[in-house]
Amino acid sequence: MLFPTLEFAVFFLLVWSIAWKLSEHNFQRKIFLLIASYFFYSTLDLRFLPILILAPMMNFFIGLWIGIEEQKKNKRWILIFGIILNLMVLGLFKYYDFLIRNILDYFPISLISDLLGDSPFLEWTLPLGISFFTFQGISYIVDIYRDELSYKNSLLDVLLYISFFPHLVAGPIVKASEFIPQLKTSPESEKIPLLYAIILICFGLIKKTIFANYLGSDVVDPIFENPEKFGSFDVLFGIYSYAIQIYCDFSAYTDMAIGFALLLGYEFPMNFNQPYRSISLSEFWRRWHISLGRWLKNYLYIPLGGNQKGTSKTYRNLIVTMVLGGLWHGAAWTFIFWGLWHGVGLAIERRYFSFDSESKVKNLMRTFLVFNFICIGWIFFRAEDAGKIASIFSRLINGSFGTVQITTFHFLLFVIGLSFHFLPPIEELEFGKRFKFDWALYATGVAVLLTIIIGLMPGGVSPFIYFRF
């Protein structure tokens, strides 16, 4: 069941009621939440529930082993072993067929074909959320190795940390050292940030069901499917619309995930912070998919040496980190190019640009340039293959104007979607302080708002984009 559906609403209300009833019995509460999380996952795909149970168990035992081992050198080897195991699971499902396809294409040696046989591909369906829970598993064992987290955790805590349903299938990627300590004690039933959570959920619903859905199906999909049928303005608008669509889609999910977690008493880190207002690419990566950026920095960029091993190695580390970050999104050359685009961009920016405080006009220009740089990257991310990428660039550059087909409605959606980056963040609105109403009035208002959202929704809800990672 997807978040913005009636089934999930019923499911969540039940889970919420029972979870808080058990607030004085933390152990039972956690077991209940774990079962609820497994139920949630099995409604999406029951076949892969065993992986969701076994992978965290594996990480629990590896974490225990690291903790018990006294020699630092041996701890390191156990950690490497654990990371390889995690990546093997991810690799088999996600990258094996891609790797084999490319080996067979670029190294058409008969020996390789003979070895692999007639059916060299696994063609395994990708388990939902595997990229996310694999990264969380790695986060767990690395945090133990770095002594940022005690290894003395219960199996229940580890299972719940990785399988907790609000962030299970599309993040945010919560650090083990951030979330597991929250599980040690029962959340306080007197301190539920209700309004903030409800606002996050409603805002997420609006972004997903209206902005992402309409811009995606009405503008982005037709233009990316057949760019040659559209003029340059439309193709450009399609690219900009995709930037808004992916932002609204992904931030909607994580806003709602954060809201649902808050209602259950747990705190997730913010995952998006108005990324398109960034004046530099490095700032963009501190505002976009913050939890992934943080994971890549802590568990990949810094272990590679970060910026401590000299200039050329810094650039290398940036590029490698971003390429692997691109590959994480999907087993395709387009994602690798997207990562490379950002990696090279970050390296060039580090080498040639400084971002001391400048005038508002200069910052605005920088914001515009950075936004366009990011949008070019989105072309690689969204297009199906190199042919489509070439087609889109060709339509952009060859200057064929023809008839512009932008509609007022879609243009407005784009403008409003973009404006989310320039309004004050939700947490600064202090909603409850400005509007001091009775909770019953708030409840009625939210019900009315929800009804309006449902009425405005196009027929059916498309899955969240990041579900496929």
């Binding site: 301190k191 209602l263 932008i406 509609t407 019900a447 449902i454 405005l456």
Partner: protein, 356 residues
């Protein structure tokens, strides 16, 4: 920056959620029924459907669903379909002589959907050809069985399977192998015969000007769903569903045969999802039975065994190209559509099959 939050206690939160749930339920009584009608048939769903139907009638009678219905109606009236077949806000024809913007004054009346599907015409290389194409379309008024060796080439209609990749390759192969033959392709995502309220292919064919040698149909993938006939739900997989769907197939074939000498109905592909795959196998059988049982100009081309491995769905395909073995991904990640490369191979094989 410190985040300020207003905290409620458990009791207040509980009452908030109760009031919210009750009020939301009250003002969404009709939408509950619509939601349930679109679900898979089953014991629980069928029993709850009776309840939600009653609730829906209460909602309509006492106008509790007024807000939802008003907003929904506003969406249907005011929200455009998509960037392709929508009214223009402003039409800039910069290639015309006077280069002045053409404003559509009445921006809120949608042109008839059939007339607005103009973007998929295979554009001639120059404007003279365009004029003569239009002239030819208008002048061909012959009646009869539609079979005409001087017909307009091929008309290809379909859903998103046709739209995503297949269309371009079919155009290319026609240009390559039948340069004298024109091809007109109409693809509309998310359509089929189950939901004429979304898009009515039968009316479309009837109103399509001109005659063709062939009409090639790629429909069915979106049709594994319940039918709505006279406000009644006809569940997929039932005998009643088969009868109604067969009637629609028959009508579409009849209209197509009036326009052409031959109708080629291409079956749905195999799907990764076993549930969808089984449903489409049933649907393909209904279509095939209808075509074979009733003589007409239609033929059924089954592609269910194409690009399968051990009779099952596969997303990878290997083939030889100039003595080199190549492996490509022919199906996209959704397990439904073809990739661009997959569409190329499929289109080539299909053209060869149709014109063997």
């Amino acid at each position: 920056m410190k985040i300020r939050r207003i905290y409620f206690n458990f009791k207040e939160t509980k009452y908030f959620l109760i009031v919210f749930t009750l009020f939301a339920f009250l003002i969404n009584l009709t939408s509950l029924n619509s939601w349930l009608e679109n679900k898979e048939p089953g014991f629980h769903r069928d029993n709850f459907l009776k309840l939600t139907k009653v609730l829906s009638e209460i909602g309509t009678t006492y106008k509790t669903s007024f807000l939802f219905q008003t907003v929904q109606q506003a969406r249907i009236n005011w929200v455009p379909k998509n960037i392709n077949n929508e009214r223009l806000v402003f039409g800039l024809n910069l290639e015309s002589e006077n280069r002045r913007p053409t404003t559509i004054s009445n921006t809120f009346s949608l042109p008839p959907l059939i007339n607005s599907l103009s973007q998929d015409i295979l554009e001639p290389s120059n404007s003279e050809d365009w004029n003569s194409l239009d002239e030819l379309l208008k002048s061909d008024q012959s009646d009869g069985d539609g079979g005409n060796s001087n017909g307009m080439g091929s008309l290809v209609i379909g859903d998103s399977i046709l739209k995503s990749g297949l269309k371009e390759h079919i155009e290319r192969f026609y240009q390559k192998y039948f340069p004298a033959m024109r091809v007109r392709i109409r693809a509309q995502s998310g359509t089929g015969l189950s939901r004429p309220d979304v898009f009515d292919w039968i009316s479309y064919i009837k109103n399509e000007p001109g005659k063709f040698n062939d009409v090639i149909i790629f429909l069915g993938t979106n049709d594994a769903q319940n039918l709505f006939v006279d406000n009644q739900v006809i569940n997929f997989g039932t005998r009643e569903w088969n009868q109604y769907y067969s009637l629609r197939v028959k009508e579409l074939i009849r209209s197509s045969c009036n326009k052409s000498g031959r109708v080629v109905w291409v079956s749905s592909l195999r799907m990764r999802s076993e549930t969808l795959d089984k449903k489409l196998a049933q649907l393909n059988k209904v279509v095939q039975t209808e075509i074979e049982a009733n003589p007409s100009c239609a033929v059924f081309v089954s592609v269910e065994k194409w690009f399968t491995k051990k009779s099952k769905f596969t997303e990878n395909w290997s083939f030889e190209n100039k003595g080199v073995r190549k492996n490509i991904k022919i199906r996209s990640d959704d397990g439904i559509h073809l990739t661009f490369k997959g569409a190329e191979i499929f289109a080539q094989k299909l053209i060869e099959k149709i014109y063997e």
